[in-house]
């Protein structure tokens, strides 16, 4: 799971002055991008392309890891053993997704520790959706249905990203992601079809709280998205924020009807003329408030990550010390 404007961040400019040799390399690079070629880790690439990818892939990775927190919150309180096993598997997948992505980012010449340090010191962003709390069990189902649903919409086009290690990680992630959405929707169906009145109300309440943040996951409108044009040119991004958002709304409305919940938008209605659902204005001031650190759980999420990293320091050090000791022993025996 993840998504949203992983390209949210300061706009950095391409270096203006290039040597003749750089210009030639740049020309060949552009040609390969235009031909739909994949770029591999050791290939020449412009600094700006590398920097953009490090930011996007690492923020995507951070999102997977921070995304384990809101759902992890419910593992010990899942209503049945079956749901607990499912949730454990899903949260473990998110951890795996984070690892695939960190590894992809590392191929660009940054270390894992540098990436984590950027997260822990607040320099790097993660998807702002994880700064909302999971108040009831229905939130777990709604996250699977809406949040993972939006993530899938966003992630499928990245499987064709021009940077091959990122594209390969995304193929693996997308294969696993479908289970996440289906388990969430099925959990909600169970509550709606076989639950009590209170449980149905719980589902509706969770939908009311997650609907708008889910739409924000696709990032700012195209007209205000600072990195979009360049990322499109480079084949890092294939489909625009607004286009993906519309696709998500169109796919989700019939699912909500089948489930028997109302999406909290009075302006949501089918537009026969354009063949899409119209929907109301998104409160972008809320989006920027949460991105900039003032969502309901920003402090708590980051504090949990920093604590886990700090508390684990002795384990990392001990494992390394043990490995070195074993190695020294082996070398001594061989000598």
């Amino acid at each position: 799971m993840y998504t949203q404007a992983m390209d949210v961040g300061p706009k950095d400019e391409a270096k203006a002055v290039q040597t003749l040799q750089e210009q030639e390399l740049q020309r060949r690079f552009d040609e390969r991008i235009d031909a739909g070629d994949f770029i591999e880790a050791k290939d020449w690439m412009p600094d700006h392309y590398r920097k953009t990818l490090v930011r996007q892939i690492s923020q995507h990775a951070h999102s997977e890891i921070v995304g384990m927190l809101p759902e992890g919150n419910w593992i010990s309180r899942a209503p049945t053993l079956k749901r607990k096993a499912i949730l454990l598997a899903k949260v473990q997948d998110e951890g795996g997704h984070g690892l695939y992505l960190y590894a992809a980012a590392e191929t660009l010449g940054v270390s894992r520790d540098q990436l984590l340090d950027a997260l822990h010191t607040g320099r790097a962003k993660y998807s702002s959706i994880f700064n909302y709390p999971t108040l009831t069990w229905a939130d777990v189902g709604v996250i699977g249905w809406l949040v993972d649903g939006a993530a899938i919409m966003n992630q499928v086009p990245i499987c064709r990203c021009s940077y091959a290690p990122y594209a390969r990680a995304m193929v693996r992630i997308c294969k696993e992601e479908s289970f996440h959405q289906r388990q969430g929707y099925e959990a909600l169906l169970t509550m709606m079809k076989h639950g009590t009145e209170a449980q149905r109300a719980m589902v509706q309440d969770a939908v009311n709280r997650w609907w708008w943040p889910s739409l924000m996951m696709f990032g700012p409108p195209d007209s205000e998205s600072v990195h979009s044009a360049q990322s499109m040119r480079w084949g890092i991004k294939r489909v625009s924020n607004d286009e993906l958002r519309q696709k998500f709304v169109d796919a989700t409305v019939p699912q909500a009807e089948l489930l028997g919940v109302t999406l909290p938008d009075p302006e949501l209605k089918w537009n026969e003329a354009c063949g899409h659902y119209d929907f109301g204005a998104i409160d972008w001031s809320e989006f920027w408030r949460v991105v900039n650190g003032h969502g309901p759980c920003n402090k708590e999420r980051l504090a949990a990550r920093v604590k886990a990293w700090d508390d684990g320091a002795w384990v990392r050090e001990a494992a390394l010390a043990h490995a070195r000791k074993q190695q020294a022993k082996t070398m001594k025996e061989a000598a």
């Binding site: 290939d43 795996g96 590894a103 270390s111 894992r112 540098q114 390969r168 043990h322 490995a323």
Partner: protein, 98 residues
């Protein structure tokens, strides 16, 4: 090597054989303190859905690779050697399945 880099667990490349009879295929990388841990983590990270029946791990810094800048020089000379392919040879229809 910086202090930070020396404190990071080394990087390993992971190769998975999806089932008996097939070859091991590169599927990603991970950090681990030693070989035993790398094998164990490879199982957790890359075979959660029975994607494998065997795993290889190798330290990334032990891999020797061709230089992508030499790609043309290395591989293009094979381009004009079409006679290395069976389809280059036109044979009578009677022996065409040869």
């Amino acid at each position: 090597m910086s202090e930070a880099a020396r404190n990071e667990w080394p990087l390993w490349e992971v190769f998975v054989r999806s089932k008996a009879g097939l070859d091991h295929k590169h599927c990603g990388s991970l950090h681990a303190a030693d070989a035993a841990m790398a094998i164990q983590l490879a199982r957790e990270v890359y075979t959660r859905r029975q994607e494998g029946s065997s795993v290889w791990v190798v330290r990334s810094d032990q891999i020797v690779a061709s230089d992508p800048a030499d790609k043309d020089m290395y591989f293009d000379p094979m381009e004009d050697k079409v006679y290395r392919h069976p389809t280059f040879y036109q044979l009578p229809a009677e022996v065409d399945h040869m």
